[in-house]
Amino acid sequence: MKKLLAFSLVFISMLLSGCTDTTSHSQGVYMLLDSSGTYKQEVKKAQAIINYLLGTLQPGDSLAVARIDSASFSEKDIIAKMTFDRRPSVTNQQKRLFKQKVDEFVATVKGSAFTDITGGILQAVEYLNETGSGTKYVLIFSDLKEELAKSHIRDFPIQLSGCRVVALNVTKLRSDNVDPREYYKRVEAWQARVEAGGGHWRVINDLERLDTILAD
């Protein structure tokens, strides 16, 4: 009788473990905010995007917001990061806290001398891989003009397999207006770099259509 009971328990536990889904359905979003030079003015727009993300992301999802400065491959640049709790009520509290941190950053943001986008992307990939999210998004809120400090090496391929990289609000620079080919060249160069690393590239400049950010 005891043997039968033990066997039944083992069988049921095997069945249950067989039913458990091993694939992760959670989403991980890492947003990079460019705070360099003239782009600093655009940070208010980024705040709206972050609020949209906070309203959209579900319990169990992860969200991190980091700034792009002269050397972005660092945890110090992360403004706020959070993996939301499984319970909706706790998630709501976490979202309130997250919003508060972002608001504080927006109020005190300072411009940086250089723009290390590659370092920020590397940091994003590292974070997203750690969260174990099923779907990974790297949102780059920048004009995509990378300016590196001397001695910083960033001209190597980046591993972005499984990541969807979305460039948001890629503004045209003064020089782009003189020669628009520069803008297209810049965007295409980033696209080529992301796709070479196994990532999926998209550009969204119309911030009225925020619902398309996490659409695919």
Binding site: D21, T23, Q58, P59, G60, R87
Partner: protein, 483 residues
């Protein structure tokens, strides 16, 4: 052989090569005409016969399905009629037990009332007043001859006074006796009324019983008709079953709507219990948990209805002894009650979570909206819905049983129709195969028409030559005979 080879039979002249090739083909086809016709005919016959055989099998299957349907319908109808008759008999039994069991007492009451009435009646009968003895003496004195005699007149006067006094006394006593009789008769009135009421009650009972017996008679007639297994009765039962099918399907759809509302009521708060981000397969665990709760409620409802003997989907529950059945009723009812309480609590939690989410969204969008003044109404409404829906879903067992029973016949009817359609299509294909054989033979002959034309020409010529030879021979014979 490719087309290039064919066109190169006669070098540098493709048209000629093609004509040669066609003539060769026609010649070959002409040579193979009879075997080819036989092959085409045999192939079409094989296909035709094959289809015919399949059609016959399908029709046999259709007949079996129709027979089975009829059997199922009649059995179900017979069972239903039996149950109805049984119920009517139970009602008659209840009436007899309730009313007829009181008949000895009723009879005693009636006898007592009649005895009372009889006694009162006897007492109230009018007794004739005995004629006074002195009447004869008065008559004798009245016949005396000397009426003018003073003494006699005095005596008569005295007698008259006495008679008047006597008369008054007698009348007084008579009136008293009459008044007493009237009082007695008045006392009889309530007894009469009571007797009348008792008899009215008996009359009502008898009329009720009479009506029940008429219902039993009509049910018995139906039952006998079903037992005769006539097509008319099967048709009537089929129509009834189809109606039941659609009605129960409609009610089930309503119940599904209720289940969906119930699901939405508890799915969100379930994520607070089992986690909003966990999945089983492609489905959220919280959704599955909510669905399981609803299904458990449905199952409990089914068991409750079975235990109450309202439905008969599980014979094992119906066959339980009454004690066990009562225990089961209580157990399922308590589980349903607990689940209703849980759902009510979840509905409350849902309201709170939804309000919190709403507040968060407002904070994120930086839009200040006015708070609703009466917040408790939707909360209470959701809680009441959460409590009532499990009990409402429990009653799904009734249309479900009806749907299951009626779907047997409806599915049978549909299956028979499909089989008939298949048989028709197969027969059509068989006939098409048969006539396409003839058509192919005609096409074959059309392809080799030059050869056939030549054949006919040669044959006609031969026949003419033979005819001419025969005429010459006949002429010679005639000439020889003449000579």
């Amino acid at each position: 052989m490719s087309l290039a080879h064919i066109l190169n039979i006669w070098p540098h002249s493709p048209a000629l090569s093609l004509i040669i090739a066609l003539l060769g083909a026609v010649f070959l086809l002409y040579l193979a005409r009879k075997p080819a016709h036989k092959a085409i005919f045999s192939l079409s016959r094989v296909i035709h016969n094959g289809f015919r055989m399949i059609t016959r099998s399908v029709l046999i299957a259709e007949n079996k399905v129709v027979e089975r349907n009829k059997e199922v319908l009649l059995t179900a109808g017979e069972r239903a009629a039996e149950q109805l008759i049984e119920r009517e008999f139970h009602r008659v039994d209840a009436v007899v037990r309730r009313d007829m069991s009181g008949y000895p007492a009723l009879q005693r009451v009636l006898a007592e009332q009649i005895a009372h009435i009889d006694e009162d009646y006897r007492e109230s009968t009018e007794l004739p007043v005995p004629p006074p003895d002195w009447v004869k003496a008065v008559e004798t004195l009245a016949k005396l001859p000397s009426r003018e005699d003073k003494w006699v007149a005095n005596i008569l006067g005295e007698i008259h006074k006495t008679a008047v006094a006597q008369y008054k006394n007698a009348m007084e006593e008579y009136r008293k006796a009459v008044a007493k009789r009237h009082a007695l008769l008045e006392k009889m009135m309530p007894y009469w009324r009571k007797l009348s009421q008792t008899l009215d009650q008996v009359d009502k009972t008898i009329i009720g019983l009479h009506e029940r017996t008429r219902v039993v008679d009509s049910r018995m007639t139906e039952y006998q008709e079903i037992q005769k297994k006539t097509d008319r009765e099967a048709g009537r039962l089929r129509a009834s079953s189809t109606t039941q099918f659609f009605i129960s399907a409609f009610v089930l759809l309503i119940a599904i709507g209720g289940a969906v509302v119930n699901f939405n009521l508890i799915a969100l708060p379930m994520s607070e219990m089992v986690g909003g981000g966990s999945y089983i397969g492609n489905f959220k665990t919280s959704n599955i948990a909510a669905l399981v709760i609803i299904l458990v409620e449905l199952a409990m409802g089914l068991y409750l209805m079975e235990s109450l003997r309202i439905t008969h989907l599980f014979p094992i529950i119906g066959q339980m002894d009454d004690k066990m059945r009562t225990r089961m009723i209580w157990a399922t009812f308590i589980i349903l009650l607990i689940l209703a309480g849980v759902e009510s609590a979840l509905a409350f939690m849902r309201d709170r979570i939804a309000a919190d989410m709403q507040a968060l969204r407002q904070a994120l969008s930086s839009v200040e909206t006015a708070q609703p003044t009466i917040r408790w109404i939707p909360t209470v409404g959701q809680m009441v819905m959460g409590f009532i829906l499990p009990f409402a879903l429990a009653f799904v067992a009734i249309p479900l049983e009806s749907f299951v029973h009626s779907s047997r016949t409806v599915v049978g009817v549909v299956m028979a129709a499909v089989l008939r359609l298949i048989a028709f299509a197969l027969r059509l294909l068989g006939n098409a195969a048969h006539y396409s054989g003839e058509f192919l033979v005609n096409i074959y002959d059309l392809l080799i028409f030059p050869a056939l034309w030549l054949e006919t020409l040669i044959r006609n010529k031969g026949q003419q030559t033979e005819g001419k030879d025969v005429t010459d021979i006949q002429d010679i014979i005639v000439k020889e005979e003449v000579s």
